[in-house]
Structure formats: C-alpha cells, structure tokens
C-alpha cells in the first residue's frame, strides 16, 4: 500500500512538472499562436542554469530563482528576436523556426556541459511515510503555488487583463492602445520562465542532461493537445492525469513502457475525440 501512495505522490510531482511546462506551451500558443518546438529546451536550460548557479553559490533556492529568470530572459529574447519579421506568419513557419532553435540549443548545451548527468543534492532531506521525499512534496507545493499565482496574475493583475484582452480580440485591444509587442514579450517571458521553473525544480530529481528537454516536450505537447490547445485548465488537468498514470504504471511495468502506454492512451483519446478532453471541463 505504501508503494502505491508513494507512487501517487511521485505522480503528482511528475504531473506538476509536466503542467508547468505544458502551461508555458499552451499560453504561448493560445495568445501568440506560436507552436514552440524549442519549449522543451527551455526546460533543460532551467536545469542547467540552476546547476551553474548552484556550483557558484551553493544555495539551491537562490540558484533555482536565477535559473528561472535567466531562462525566461533567454527564451523570450529568442522568440521576440524574430517577432517583427514573422508577424502574421502561420504556425507552421514558427514551428520550423523553433524546431531549429531547439536543435541549436540542444547541441550548444551538449557542447558546453557535455553529455554527463549534472546532479545536485535535494535541498530538503528526509521522507514522509506514505508520501515520499520531503523535497518532492516541496516541489509539488511550489509548482502548484506557481500555477495558482499564474492564474491569479491572469485573472486579477493589470497585465493579466491586457494579456486576456489580446488573446480574446487582438484588434479590439490594439484599438484602445494596448501594445501587442509589450504584451507578447510578457507572455514569452512567462512561458519560458514556467519551463525554466520545471527544469530547475527537477534538477535534484532527474539531474540535468542534454536530451531532457526532448523527453518532457513530447509529453507536454500531448497533454496540451489533449487538454485543448490554448486551454490552461485543460493542460493542467491532462498533465496531472499523465503524471499520475505514468507513476502508477511503473508499479507494474518498466518506466519507459509506462510512458509509452500513457502516450498511446492520450493519442487514442485524440482519435476518438478530435477536440481532446476540453469539453469535459
């Protein structure tokens, strides 16, 4: 029984990580209509930047904050660098551009950091019976708080209202003076920052390695599509479902097989319901 509850707790950690990454992905698609195939690399950058900062400062939480901010800035700069040139371009052109970004970033990370695993010890030691490691619980809480903060920011803050206005009717927002470029820069910062946060939080769990972005990217994309492209609530629920299913399945099959089963199940959902699960919530 303890094995099951421990895997449930692990599932929530994995689900929260996928959710943070997927929320960034769905936010940038829903508002800027960008299919960002480099998003997974922002997750990896978050982990690597945190590792570098930790090597210098030896304080995990400060290092994670630095990693998140650095990823947000670099990710947003990469996306906004081409914004003027690609204004009005379709999602396919953005997908091809970001596919290239992703490849270059992955190779650069391999070149700079090598192929070995960069590990950082969890900043919180110990375990809680039936629930697993203290750090994993802390990460889950931090991730959920971040998601809650994002929801509150979008609902209540000045920039949140402007972001929702642009997402809902870009022309009507521009006609009352909303600068699309400023808002898109904010969205790109938040999107890359969320992926960076997921990477930073997972550093003590999985360590940092060059292909980590590619692995989470596949799962994040699937949950975004299943949750309904641009649908934040849908991505969140689909992410938690994916994380829980993946963790519980590891009780009976190998981890790789668990991932395959979850991906196949989600693909079947899309075959049966083309709109994904979004109309269920």
């Amino acid at each position: 029984m303890e094995a099951v509850t421990s895997q449930l707790a692990n599932g929530v950690v994995v689900g929260t990580t996928i959710a943070l990454t997927a929320l960034g992905l769905t936010l940038i698609f829903g508002i800027m209509h960008i299919v960002n195939l480099a998003h997974g690399e922002f997750y990896a950058l978050g982990a690597y930047f945190t590792w570098v900062a930790y090597s210098l400062l030896n304080n995990f939480w400060v290092s994670a904050a630095i990693g998140i901010v650095a990823t947000a800035i670099i990710g947003a700069a990469l996306l906004m660098m081409f914004y003027d040139k690609l204004t009005g371009a379709g999602p396919l052109r953005w997908a091809l551009l970001t596919l290239g970004f992703g490849y270059v970033l992955r190779e650069l990370m391999q070149l700079v950091f090598g192929t070995d695993f960069k590990l950082v010890a969890p900043p919180l030691e110990g375990t809680i019976p039936w629930a697993g490691g203290v750090y994993r619980i802390a990460v889950t809480v931090a991730g959920l708080l971040l998601i809650l903060a994002l929801a509150l920011f979008l609902k209540k803050s000045r920039y949140g209202v402007l972001i929702r206005a642009i997402a809902n009717n870009r022309d009507a927002a521009a006609l009352v003076g909303v600068s699309t470029k400023t808002i898109y820069t904010w969205v790109a910062l938040i999107s890359a920052g969320l992926a960076g946060a997921a990477g930073a939080f997972m550093l003590p769990v999985t360590s940092a390695y060059p292909t980590m972005g590619l692995e989470i990217m596949i799962m994040a994309f699937v949950v975004v599509v299943v949750g309904g492209m641009g649908n934040i609530q849908g991505a969140l629920i689909a992410s938690l479902l994916a994380g829980l299913a993946q963790s519980l399945l590891t009780l009976i099959v190998e981890p790789t097989a668990a991932t395959i089963i979850v991906l196949v199940a989600f693909m079947l959902v899309l075959v049966v319901r083309r709109e994904g699960l979004q109309k269920l919530w």
Binding site: L162, R164, N168, N169, A172, A174, V176, T180
Partner: protein, 227 residues
C-alpha cells in the same frame, strides 16, 4: 485635424482603395456613404492601422501617422469603433473598460465617470461582454473608445441592426462627440442618421470618392446607396 491624401490601400495583394482624399476638422461630423463592398470599412481600417496603406499620406493634427502601429495611432488620438469584433467578448464589461485604463495608464476613477454616463453598462459590469445585446455592445465599444479621449472618432455603421431606440441613443452619442470638439468620420447607411448628424458627406463607389456633398441631398445619397 485628420487629412488623407492620395491614399491607396488594401489587404495583402488585394487593393481596395484608390487615390482617396478627405479631411475632417475638429467639431465636425463627416459621413462616408456607399453601397456594401465599396471600401468604406477598409478606409476606416486603413486610418486605424488595420489595413495596409500602399501609398499616400495620413496625418493627424499635422503629424504623419502612416508609420504608426494601431496601438500607437490610438495613443495619438485615433478612436475607432469597428462594425464588428469591436469588444473582447470573453472579458466582462468592466474588464473591457479596464483595458484602455490599464493600457494608457489612466486614473481608475475614470471608470466611475463612464458608469455615470452609461448606467446600463454599470448594471451589467460583471456580465461577460459577449452576452450583451447588439445595442449594449455598441455602447460598450463607444465607452471603451471614449475612455481614450480621442481627437477623432472613426465609427463604422454603428446603427446597423439596432432597434430604433438604440439608434436614437447612438445618434445622440455621435452628436455629443461633436459638441465636445472631437472630429467624427462616420460610415453610415441610415438616411435619417446621416441627415441628423452629417456636416459633410463623401460618396464612395468602387474604392474611390466620387462626390462630396456640403449638405444633405437625399437624391444623390440614395443613388450611391443603391436603394
């Protein structure tokens, strides 16, 4: 105030407007009249920065606005109420009104002033804007633009499909803009509204202005409206 000289414009490869010349002064209501599809909405879209200006000059209070983005034109004093998609339908009425307040850094007290002028919007402040009636949507669109205190209002067929009482209300708003010294460039097909508010009328056909009337002339207008 607003001066349009030799303007040619369109969308992508499609040219819609040819060699348009017009001017609107402060405190003046100028109507643009023509059949559906002659380019009236494209004219307003081009002035607001939503359609591509191919050639010609656009200036507001002597300053060129042709190179400005839509948001920059709004900040410069262009207030556009489009015929459709004029509000953010998924946001509440209040959020729609907060958008210009936040974007332009206006005093939040401006919201109370709007509610004083638009009591119906205050009643529906927490309602999703997409659920408003056609007349209420138009009022909300007007209120959003009025918050920006524009130098010129561009208004595209504001009375189309509205009940007679709402038409009277919208006509009153247009007259109020003039009284406060703003310029108004109005696209309209309702003869009674044109008669009530227009100081000057441009008649359009096939993407060009063919005739300018300095006073209401029903026979000419009807000819260009094709009714």
């Amino acid at each position: 105030m607003l001066k349009v000289q030799n303007l040619s414009a369109g969308y992508g490869p499609v040219q819609v407007l040819w060699d348009i010349n017009l001017a609107v002064s402060a405190g003046e209501v100028v109507c643009v009249v023509g059949r559906n599809g002659v380019g009236k909405s494209t004219l307003l879209n081009t002035i607001a920065g939503l359609a591509d200006c191919r050639s010609g000059a656009l200036s507001l209070s002597g300053e060129s606005i042709a190179q400005l983005s839509t948001a920059q034109r709004a900040r410069a004093g262009i207030g556009y109420v489009p015929q459709q998609r004029e509000i953010c339908p998924d946001l509440t009425v209040e959020e729609n009104l907060l958008v210009p307040i936040y974007a332009l850094g206006l005093e939040p007290a401006k919201l109370s002033a709007v509610y004083d002028g638009f009591a119906r919007l205050k009643e529906r402040r927490y309602q999703v804007a997409g659920s408003l009636s056609g007349g209420e949507r138009k009022l909300l669109a007007f209120a959003r633009i009025m918050l920006c205190s524009p130098k010129i209002f561009l208004i595209d067929e504001p009375t189309e499909g509205l009940m007679p009482s709402a038409v009277v209300e919208i006509s009153g708003l247009i007259a109020g803009c003039r009284e406060e010294g703003a310029a108004v460039l109005l696209v309209e097909q309702n003869l009674r509204v044109i008669e009530a508010v227009a100081d000057r009328i441009y008649l359009m056909n096939s993407g060009r202005i063919e005739l300018t009337l300095d006073k209401f002339d029903e026979t000419q207008i009807v000819k260009y409206l094709g009714v």
